[in-house]
Symmetry: C2
Subunit: 286 residues, 2 copies
């Protein structure tokens, strides 16, 4: 029904609706014509101890979103789900799914997790949203259809796979970029001298460094701390840097083996990524 231009008749309650992810979802559903109510700690609301107004909103909602930190979500989920209509869907937006999955393992009503794999300031169209269906149902299916209609690439996975892959995609990537920056600092590289001679790969790494170091420390720390698999990803990077350093001073066969081994995770997408790199390098020209 939401595939048509008819106004969305659902009532959506977004807890944490004043935050970055919450705001993105509020704007999308309001754009569809849905009735969207925002409950946010910034306005004095406490979903872990809801007042009668919030309780009434939760009772009437067709969709309730918990766009809140993990500790708040874990504390609130039992009472929130119990207050909601059985056929309504609860949506969490956590960046780590496995602990929440364990918390709702005994439930039967619709609960899904979504995780936009991009900064909420970026446009959703064409970008990946990871989805974990804790418990399915028609109302859950409609939310997945909403995401697809908004242009997201909906990628359904399990809570454990989500957390394992996110550790590699996020914790590992950020750690590699930050280590690059720290090493540059240690080497005493002058910003102007480096910029004057910047190669396309260096400029690209510096762009990533500017992004990660310019972000909110709490957000980037959460990526490293909250995910149960993040420490394994950092340990893998520590080992990898030493191996690369060893292989770099070996013979040409060692070096060719290094390149081949580092290329494995690209699989049959290596050519696509190489084509992407060529486009990125065009952007590095001033």
């Amino acid at each position: 029904m939401t595939d048509t231009a008819a106004p969305d008749t659902r009532t959506v309650v977004v807890v944490g609706g004043a935050g970055a992810v919450g705001t993105m979802l509020v704007d999308q559903w309001r754009g569809d014509g849905a009735t969207v109510e925002v409950v946010d700690a910034a306005s004095g609301d406490d979903v872990t101890c809801p007042d009668t107004v919030v309780m009434e909103l939760l009772r009437r909602a067709d969709v309730v979103v918990l766009a809140v930190p993990e500790d708040v979500a874990l504390t609130a989920v039992g009472a929130v789900r119990a207050t909601m209509k059985p056929e309504a869907v609860l949506v969490e937006t956590l960046s780590v799914k496995s602990r929440f999955a364990a918390a709702v393992a005994g439930d039967a009503e619709p609960v899904i997790g979504v995780n936009p794999m991009f900064a909420p300031s970026l446009d959703m169209r064409g970008r990946a949203v990871a989805v974990v269906v804790h418990h399915g149902g028609p109302a859950a299916d409609v939310v997945l259809a909403d995401l697809a209609r908004w242009g997201a690439r909906v990628q359904v996975t399990t809570a454990d796979r989500h957390d394992r892959v996110c550790a590699a995609l996020q914790a590992l990537t950020h750690a590699a970029v930050l280590a690059f920056g720290w090493a540059l600092t240690d080497l005493g590289v002058d910003p102007d001298e480096a910029a004057a001679l910047a190669t396309p790969p260096f400029a690209t790494m510096s762009a990533l460094l500017a992004r990660v170091t310019g972000g909110t420390p709490e957000v980037y720390r959460d990526v490293q701390l909250a995910n149960p698999y993040a420490s394994a990803a950092r340990d893998a990077l520590v080992r990898a840097v030493s191996r690369v350093s060893d292989a770099a001073v070996g013979d040409i066969d060692d070096f060719a083996a290094l390149l081949a081994r580092a290329r494995v995770p690209l699989g049959d997408r290596a050519d696509d990524y190489a084509a992407l790199c060529a486009r990125l390098f065009e952007d590095t020209v001033r």
Copy 2:
């Protein structure tokens, strides 16, 4: 005189003119109308033991380019420079400058080093070319003017500064990218699963990984081995990864300090790099 549309009347001999950098220079000067002669090992020429034909070319040339490996350049430079007209300019294209600088330290005739800071397959316009003026002169100035006219950003530095900065720009950057790939391999990340959930930073790192691992092993090994400062750059990365790993599990002040320290090498260019990152991320959308 080369700033006008008048045809270039110089004779240019490009030793190694069938290689990647050599070909790029051959094409540029031919486009200007200069007489360009190619001397290349692929055609049986040996500049370290030149035959009478090559000797005559070197005698008549206004510009001689040594676009050859470092060992060949170091062996050939004495005899080549002695054979050339005193006012003609010798141009080397080595990626490491300090050993060549030592070899020509006693000379008085014009010798310059150029190092395109980009793959020769990329367009020169807007990209940096590092220049070391071993010994200046009018013919050297004309070659620098050629580079500028072709659109390169000519960056003059010393041999030692060139090698220090290039170790940070190239050896460090490649090592960080390769370590990222090796760690992904160790973590057993599935290429399709990673691509499905790829964040913009992960996609960007994967693009760099495809580029570096898809290149010629000899070229990337040379970056790690030939530069006398490359091992210090790799050592700095090894230390940095451990420090990042430690800071990642510290408190929020530790993490904020990590971000601040890693940002130092961006200097007052951090905002420009952040803007570049925003453009790059647009390219990662499929």
